[in-house]
Amino acid sequence: MARAKFLCDAERCIECNACVTACKNEHEVPWGINRRKVVTINDGNPGERSISIACMHCSDAPCMAVCPVDCFYQTDDGVVLHSKDLCIGCGYCFYACPFGAPQYPQAGNFGSRGKMDKCTFCAGGPEETGSNAEFQKYGRNRIAEGKLPICAEMCSTKALLAGDGAVVSDIYRERVVSRGFGSGAWGWGTAYGTKNGG
């Protein structure tokens, strides 16, 4: 059984934000909600590196563990999805997430966050596949169409990889071997419980 994973190759990411706008375009994500974002460290200094971050769909997902209404589920491919019908917007998942993935449509006081939204690995949600309800709540379900997440498919430098974890790590390993160095498979240890390239 394949295990869906993301990997961002920091040696290649140039912070062009294609992943961000591709996601917005694909799922009609509104202003203020960022399922994916690019973070740059050492901005403007030698050693500057950028990493594209979204929900990593962790193996042992902390968001699932802390959710008081159990709105999360994990598909057989390892994609972590949730139900907006069940979500109460409590924000626990946001505190638990090591990647800052959960997003909320409202930023008011007194917990009025609204239903949580996050990256679905382009796999929709609990509504019927391909239904209008699924699209409106979770966005397009590319996985059901036999496609991979749009952010990775459109990445300008092929820095962002998505798909079967074994294939992804093969591609990355090949690159590291050919260039003789790598900045590590960022976040893999945290997300998938393995160190570089596992």
């Binding site: 394949a2 290649r12 375009n25």
Partner: protein, 964 residues
């Protein structure tokens, strides 16, 4: 346990896991209509979405047939294929164009959000005019009538040159060509476009070095590079998808990536070596590299002997640039330059890449020629992996340059001489007396009457001077009184505040654009402004030339939205209004009222642009390449089998001869290892055959298979006869040649293509086989030299490296020494430079109107080094005033960063809509202002124009910064 819902009936087949899907093509189609309504309107709207991703109106699920249409991204010149999914006339999705050899599915932020053009919430929706300070909706008929009548009045009173036609690099080739032709039929050379302020110094410098002024190789060919030197370019932001090719060479060839830039750019962050130079010291830096190369005999002596003229004179100049002097002028340590020179010498072939950082200077043409000379010295020209890979800016700035929407030339770089007009007159089937009659005359200094037809017009960089300059100082009868900005962002030009004054002085201001642009808002006019909604390229079809000279075809994705019209239709409306439509469209059929057939326009320029081989690229051939993208190799660009077997993707020009000749295109210019018939080439014999006794033709070298085994001049009918090859001409070709100019007919003017065909039959380049020239004796600086910028704080260098004397150029007085002699450095101590951001493009009117992009960059800013910020008392994210050396100032957010060196400030130039602290949002038509407004960097940028092309100086000026 939460489970996925089903409706209980059998679903369409679904795969069980990801694993099986990765390599397969999808057979499923989406079974729902995607909402086309956009759910946002700024931050306030977020609350309204109540948890669902969009508030697109509910639509019942249907099994609609979704069609996929190929277009090409309209941002930069990489030429990324956009795969548009269209459902029932609505653009519902974008898929990666994996088959495209240029982008392999990739996009940057701009390309990945191309679909927004079809949402178009902030588009200009219908024709408008400003009346009594209010925007008023009008009909197309009324708009064309009023504008046309106004122009005819100006024409009667002041002559045709008082109307300025400013075209665009956003036009397709067909639209751009038609636009240039339109200006000719109106009777003026006051026609230009963004290439003037983009790569004009490249085109002039490079074409005068070896023949053609274009990127010599391709993005893909960088795969073969062993070293990459990027100078004055930040492709990670300006051409992000090019990085997929650059990083391939870096990773797979271990090719060192060297970035020379005043800023530690996002490109520099991925470089092996970063060279920080003082803005405007490019020639010093390149001569510093060459000093080490010559000193150590690392140059390619045989290449120089056989293929380069004038390198000895370069050597003389380079001798002066020892490491100490280079460091004094450029700030780059000698030890670093030696290392870079050594790297370039040891890793051949290497490529040199440059962009605006090199071109936008008063000495831009010197910079571009210096880069070329570096490559000539290393023997890196005419070879795969080498070349000068000049990344053009806009999507079709190469094409619009080629069809010469330029004030100094007719399409195909034919120039403006009587012979050039005669050539195009033949192509157009036009009565030359009638055409001449459209133009005004002027009495020259010699007292002779001259037609303005043959005199260069005012370049776009100077149109404001055409309005503001005293009439007596201009070489045309009257000032510019009406301005047509047809796809141009005014904030991409320097001296913004003077532009405001110029706009207010005009009789009439006409904007033709999908967006109102800053031209609608930056002035305080109350009347006489017209806005005409143009369609984007996704709403029409046509060809576009990528930076690597490849043609691609865009199919129409959706019908023109709102009341917009494609540019060719708007041109037709004006041609009708001015009464020359019948003549103008003599060779072009109509698909409907005022709707010219696009392919017929392609065929018309196919019939005339022999100089650069825009002749073999028929619409049918371009479309075939587009349809069969998957058959082309991703590195060589050559088709392997399939219907285009052996051809290069997009038929990179020169695609010689007629389409029937089936020339495959020229992937790498001047590459003698291939036959000319198979894409090989020599350096062009453009500058004569000898100079002061020195042979200018190639010395005993020639392209593969050439029957002339030495250098040779350009082909004429007389030369064919002399060679005894005229017998190869068909009787039709012979008759056509005879009708043009008999024996004097050459490869450029022969409308049959026979001379080119026969030359190539004998594997000779139609344009000859010569040396490249390192010394351009026709330019102000034959040997490129360093000259200090007009506004410089290095007063110690002004004496050693002064600028030019003031002069008259392109109809206008042009200042140099009179500015430089004033010392502004006391009051304005900091260097000010400008550049691009990845999220926006050009003036940004379109991209700042795209919410997916606008959200990512909401504030105009200035980068200030931490040292300067602390000395000035400026804190990060604080508002500051940046005042340019001419006194105009902008209020922007400070970004304190070491990206810029101490003493240098940088601003992105994509913003507009604020003017000296004033928010101009109310000046836009209702609901058509971009989401993000900001100060235009160019409000603070100052005077300065290249000595050959009138390129604006937007990379070096002076400023002072203070807390706002």
């Amino acid at each position: 346990m939460l489970r996925k819902k089903t409706n209980g009936v059998a679903r369409r087949p679904q795969r069980a896991s990801l694993l099986s899907k990765v390599a397969e093509k999808s057979v499923d189609r989406r079974s729902f209509l995607r909402g086309s309504g956009l759910a946002i309107g700024g931050l306030a709207a977020i609350g309204a979405t109540a948890g669902s991703v969009t508030k697109a109106s509910a639509q019942s699920a249907v099994n609609g047939a979704i069609s996929t249409i190929k277009s090409v991204c309209t941002n930069c010149s990489v030429g990324c294929t956009v795969m548009a999914e269209v459902d029932n006339g609505v653009w519902v999705g974008q898929e990666p164009g994996f088959d495209s050899p240029f982008n392999l599915g990739a996009h940057c932020a701009k390309g990945a959000s191309a679909r927004e053009a079809a949402h178009g919430e902030r588009r200009l929706k219908y024709p408008m005019k400003k009346e009594g300070g209010e925007w008023k909706r009008i009909s197309w008929e009324q708009a064309i009538d009023e504008i046309g009548d106004g122009m005819m009045k100006i024409r009667d009173e002041s002559g045709p040159d008082s109307v300025y036609w400013l075209g665009s690099a956003k036009h397709s080739n067909e639209q751009a060509y038609l636009f240039r032709k339109f200006a000719a039929y109106w009777g003026t050379n006051n026609v230009d476009h963004q290439a003037r302020i983009c790569h004009s110094t490249t085109v002039a410098g490079v074409a005068n070095t070896w023949g053609y002024g274009a990127m010599t190789n391709s993005y893909n060919d960088i795969h073969n590079s062993k070293a990459m030197l990027i100078i004055g370019g930040n492709p990670a932001e300006a051409h992000p998808v090019s990085l997929v090719h650059i990083l391939k060479a870096k990773e797979e060839n271990n090719a060192p990536l060297i970035v020379c830039d005043p800023r530690f750019t996002r490109t520099a962050a991925h470089a092996d070596e970063y060279v920080r130079l003082r803005p405007g010291s490019d020639v010093a830096l390149v001569w510093g590299l060459l000093w080490h190369i010559f000193e150590n005999n690392w140059e390619d002596a045989e290449f120089i002997r056989t293929r380069v003229y004038g390198m000895d004179q370069i050597r003389e100049e380079v001798k002066k640039w020892n490491p100490e002097e280079v460091e004094r002028v450029s700030g780059v340590p000698g030890s670093q330059l030696r290392r870079v020179a050594h790297t370039l010498a040891n890793n051949r072939p290497g490529t040199v890449i440059w962009c605006m950082g090199g071109t936008q200077h008063t000495t831009g043409n010197n910079n571009t020629r210096a880069y070329c000379i570096l490559q000539l010295a290393l023997g890196n020209m005419g070879t795969s992996g080498g070349g000068t890979n000049i990344f053009r800016g806009h999507d079709n700035v190469q094409g619009a340059t080629d069809v010469c929407v330029l004030s100094h030339s007719l399409p195909g770089y034919y120039g403006l001489s009587a012979g050039s007009w005669a050539h195009w007159g033949r192509v157009w089937g036009e009565d030359m007396d009638w055409l001449k009659g459209q133009f005004d005359n002027i009495t020259g200094k010699d007292g002779k009457e001259k037609s303005l037809m043959n005199l260069k017009g005012i370049p776009v960089s100077r149109w404001i001077d055409g309005v503001l300059e005293d009439k007596d100082n201009i070489d045309q009868p009257n000032n510019v009184r009406a301005m047509v900005l047809w796809g141009h962002a005014p904030n991409s030009q320097t001296r913004g505040k003077e532009m405001k004054t110029a706009m207010e002085k005009l009789d009439m201001l006409v904007v033709v654009d999908p967006y109102p642009t800053a031209s609608a808002a930056m002035h305080d006019r109350t009347d006489g402004v017209y806005l005409l909604p143009a369609s984007t390229q996704y709403e029409t079809r046509g060809s576009v030339t990528a930076s690597n000279r490849s043609f691609q075809w865009r199919d129409k994705v959706v019908e023109p939205i709102f009341e917009s019209k494609p540019d060719q239709n708007i041109i037709a409306l004006f041609a009708n209004k001015f009464g020359f439509a019948d003549r103008f469209f003599r060779n072009i059929s109509m698909e409907g009222e005022n709707a010219p057939n696009v392919e017929d326009i392609t065929r018309e320029f196919n019939g005339g642009m022999w100089t650069i081989g825009y002749t073999g690229c028929s619409p049918e051939r371009i479309k075939s390449h587009m349809a069969n993208q998957h058959t082309f190799d991703k590195t060589t660009l050559q088709a392997v089998g399939g219907p285009n077997d052996g051809e290069y993707y997009g038929l990179p020009w020169p695609c010689w001869g007629t389409a029937e000749m089936k020339h495959p295109g020229t992937p790498n210019l001047y590459d003698m290892s291939k036959k000319v018939s198979e894409g090989g080439l020599t350096f062009r014999a453009r500058f004569g055959v000898e100079r002061e006794g020195t042979n200018l033709l190639a010395e005993g070298v020639y392209s593969k298979g050439s029957e002339i085994k030495d250098g040779y001049p350009e082909f004429t009918m007389a030369m064919l006869k002399k060679l005894g090859w005229d017998g190869d001409l068909t009787s039709e070709e012979r008759a056509s040649i005879e009708a043009v100019a008999g024996d004097k007919t050459n490869w450029k003017t022969d409308l049959s293509g026979g001379i080119q065909r026969v030359a190539i039959k004998h594997e000779c380049a139609p344009f000859g086989n010569a040396k490249a020239r390192a010394v351009v004796w026709t330019f102000p600086d034959p040997v490129p030299v360093h000259r200090e910028p007009l506004y410089t704080n290095r007063r110690d260098l002004v004496e050693d490296y002064p600028t030019y004397a003031d002069k008259q150029a392109y109809r206008l007085p042009t200042l140099y020494a009179s500015i430089q002699k004033q010392d502004f450095s006391k009051e304005y101590p900091m260097i000010l430079t400008t550049g691009r951001l990845v999220e926006y493009e050009g003036g940004g009117d379109e991209s700042r109107s795209n919410p997916w992009l606008a959200e990512l960059q909401q504030d105009m800013f200035v980068e200030i080094n931490a040292r300067d910020a602390n000395n000035l008392g400026v804190r990060d994210r604080e508002q500051v005033w940046v005042e340019g050396a001419e006194g105009s100032k902008v209020k922007v957010m400070a970004m304190v960063t070491n990206r810029v060196g101490a003493g240098v400030a940088f601003m992105p130039f994509h913003f507009a809509g604020h003017m000296e602290g004033r928010d101009l949002r109310e000046n836009y038509p209702d609901g058509a202002a971009p989401y993000v407004l900001g100060e235009a960097a160019n409000t603070a940028m100052t005077y300065g124009y290249d000595s050959v092309t009138q390129m604006q100086e937007s990379k070096v000026s002076l400023c002072k910064i203070s807390v706002a």
